[in-house]
């Protein structure tokens, strides 16, 4: 049945522009200021954030450029033309595993933070199960719907972040920004590594760009989209430093949420703003998680061809749940998250170099 042009599964490049920040903004920023502050002095973390950001934008742009040069071909299709079908299948399968891992991690982390700030007694298993069911409902529906959710939720998320910053302005103490440029190279490098991890959202460029109908401008749009989280992270980080100072920021579990904690709404109609902040932030985390799972399903679908999407979801979701519940404590979880962050980054760079070089050598592009 013919539908409206815009109502079908095709994605416009503006939707990629929104999908990039929606995917990247998630749990990372809630503790990012801590990891920045703990390795840098004063407010020098911003350098790391910017350097990391630039690297992330470059990677995004390059990958997008590569994907866009094979318009309307799925990832497995064009990688098959570059590096034979079996290798392409393996690469895609690793992406599936990565997607599942990311989903599992998010599902677990959201449960942990919710337990910390909202539901103290409720078991983590239940909180994450509810969230996972929500994700399944979201992914089980149309992919176009997910992109629409991005456009619906991102403004809320940016708005609440803005509120947190604006209502903290009277707590700002510019003195905390000093001393500047005192961090050694080692600290900056540590910070940069940490910041790139929080920008990791390259699955979108690998898999969704192939769905864009006219991908000429998409690399640019994806890069612009990538800039949104960089700016947001920078502003939130500086706000944390100016409000708490470096030493406190480095010691707070979730500095961004603590930032929301001290917001006083004029008129005092609501206290403990952090609960509201985190609740709204769940929308951002939902977008990240849903897209991660959707990418995994999309990749899996491209390997197994005809299998029903819903069936794949029901196969994948128990794996996600069990993986998410596996880490026992905070430290294990943090190792798990660092591991996933690095593997996603390194794997993206590796696949890009592999595909790009082979394509150049075999003159496929």
């Amino acid at each position: 049945m013919k539908r409206f042009e815009y109502a079908d599964e095709k994605i416009s490049d503006n939707q990629i522009l929104v999908a990039m920040p929606s995917f990247v903004i998630g749990i990372g920023i809630l503790y990012l200021p801590r990891s920045m502050a703990s390795v840098t002095t004063g407010s020098d973390g911003w350098l790391s954030l910017v350097i990391g950001g630039i690297i992330a934008v470059i990677i995004t742009w390059s990958v997008a450029k590569l994907s866009a040069s094979f318009p309307n071909q799925s990832f497995i299709n064009y990688s098959s033309t570059i590096v034979t079908k079996p290798i392409a299948t393996v690469i895609t399968f690793l992406f599936v595993i990565l997607g599942i891992m990311v989903t599992a991690l998010q599902v677990r982390q959201i449960a942990d933070i919710s337990k910390h700030y909202l539901l103290i007694e409720t078991p983590v298993e239940i909180i994450s199960l509810v969230f996972l069911l929500l994700i399944l409902y979201g992914v089980g529906n149309s992919r176009a719907g997910l992109f629409r959710l991005n456009t619906m939720f991102l403004p809320f998320v940016l708005f609440i972040a803005l509120v947190v910053i604006v209502f903290n302005i009277n707590h700002f103490n510019p003195d905390f920004l000093m001393p500047a440029f005192q961090t050694g190279f080692g600290g900056l490098w540590e910070g940069t590594k940490g910041s790139i991890l929080s920008y990791a959202g390259f699955g979108v460029v690998w898999f969704y760009i192939t769905l864009v109908e006219r991908p000429e401008k998409t690399p640019k749009k994806a890069a612009i989209g990538m800039c949104i989280p960089i700016i947001l992270y920078l502003v939130l980080y500086l706000a944390c430093i100016m409000v708490f100072g470096n030493s406190v920021t480095a010691n707070l579990q979730y500095p961004t949420i603590e930032l929301a904690k001290i917001v006083e709404i004029p008129g005092g109609i609501l206290e403990r703003f952090e609960s509201l902040f985190f609740v709204i932030w769940i929308m951002a985390i939902f977008n990240t998680t849903a897209m991660a799972l959707d990418i995994a399903i999309l990749a899996l679908h491209s390997i197994f061809g005809k299998t029903n999407k819903i069936k794949l979801l029901f196969i994948v979701s128990p794996i996600v749940y069990i993986t998410g519940m596996y880490p026992q404590d905070l430290m294990q979880l943090s190792h798990f998250s660092t591991f996933i962050g690095y593997s996603s980054l390194i794997y993206t760079v590796f696949v890009y170099i592999l595909l790009f070089a082979t394509a150049k050598i075999r003159k496929v592009i």
Partner: protein, 394 residues
Amino acid sequence: MGNFLRLMSCSCLLILTGCWDSLPIDERGFVIGSAIDMAGEIQDKNYDITVTHQFVVPGNLSNLSQSGGGGGDKKAFQNISATGQSPFQITRNMLSLTDLIPNSEHLKILIISDEVAREPDLFSSVTDSFIRDHEMRREVKVMITNGKAKDLLENESDTEQLPSRHINNIMENNIKSLELIQSVRVGTLHQYLLNDDSYVLPLITLSGKDINYNGAAIFAGKSDQQVGTLSNEEIKGLRLVKGDITNGMLPFHIDGELMIYEINTANSSIAINTANPEKMDISITINTEGFIAEMFGSRSLLDQQYINKIEKEISKKIEQTVNNTVKKAQQELGIDFFNFSSILRQKHYDVWKKIEKDWEDGEKLFSQSKVNVTAKAIVRDIGASDKAKDDGME
């Protein structure tokens, strides 16, 4: 249909087993104020502390309950004390003493007895749970008291049913006075504890039925223990150095007559010359603007010469006040509660890295540094009338 059944069974499961966190508001006991005292004598690092929580009894808050509920006669609060090793543990133990489940989300004040505060490292330990616990807000005001902290929570005032709220209100009204330091929130205390800088906390005392909010307790940054107190006059000096004054009065004498200078705004700028780390040069410039609020003499203020003289006199008074406080910090205590150290860290990071260990301890560089105070006071206004009485009337 199958989907529907699955959904139904899932939601039934949730509804039947759910509501882990659900607890109606009337079954929670809201702690509005806490006090920490030392229990018994100190015996070689083994001590027990007593924590007193002030629970609100909402039904007895007269302005709220419409069905009467006793109102005036019954107390709107209930103080429960328990003794133990750590505040968190004690709070849990309190469950056996009350039918309410303690909830600290509306905690306003935390009063710590100076006995606890003077003990090395104990202060940071007892406040830890107030910083760490997710229920606590970072806005909880922290203060020190001379004597039993518990007594402050018992002290009912005529205007306010809840002693904690009364103290909280007192702490909020300090903007008009130069003799009071600003209230310190737990969030700020966290920052104090993490940095090794020294700091001051508000000090309140109970004299008879009245709660006096004057003075401040000085804490050494390294051990987080109270090492002294500041008198009103000394606080003036501290606040002038800090410079964040919006309102405050400064009495001074001119030609033997008392005159009161009301400060509207005061700014201070601190510059530290680190050329010689052994003897650093700290110069403080204080600029104030204000008006004459009261005068006992009878000279006309519409005289430029006289105004200049007054301004000079005020500046002298300010310098003298600040120097007094600085002297106390440098000589008497050797504690840098002005936080010159944070200026060093922010502006002279490389120097600071080298002398960090020797600032208050070791070489005691702080005590050796030279502090210059320059004040410039401006009288913007002389009030509505020039003179309230004439020369001849004297």
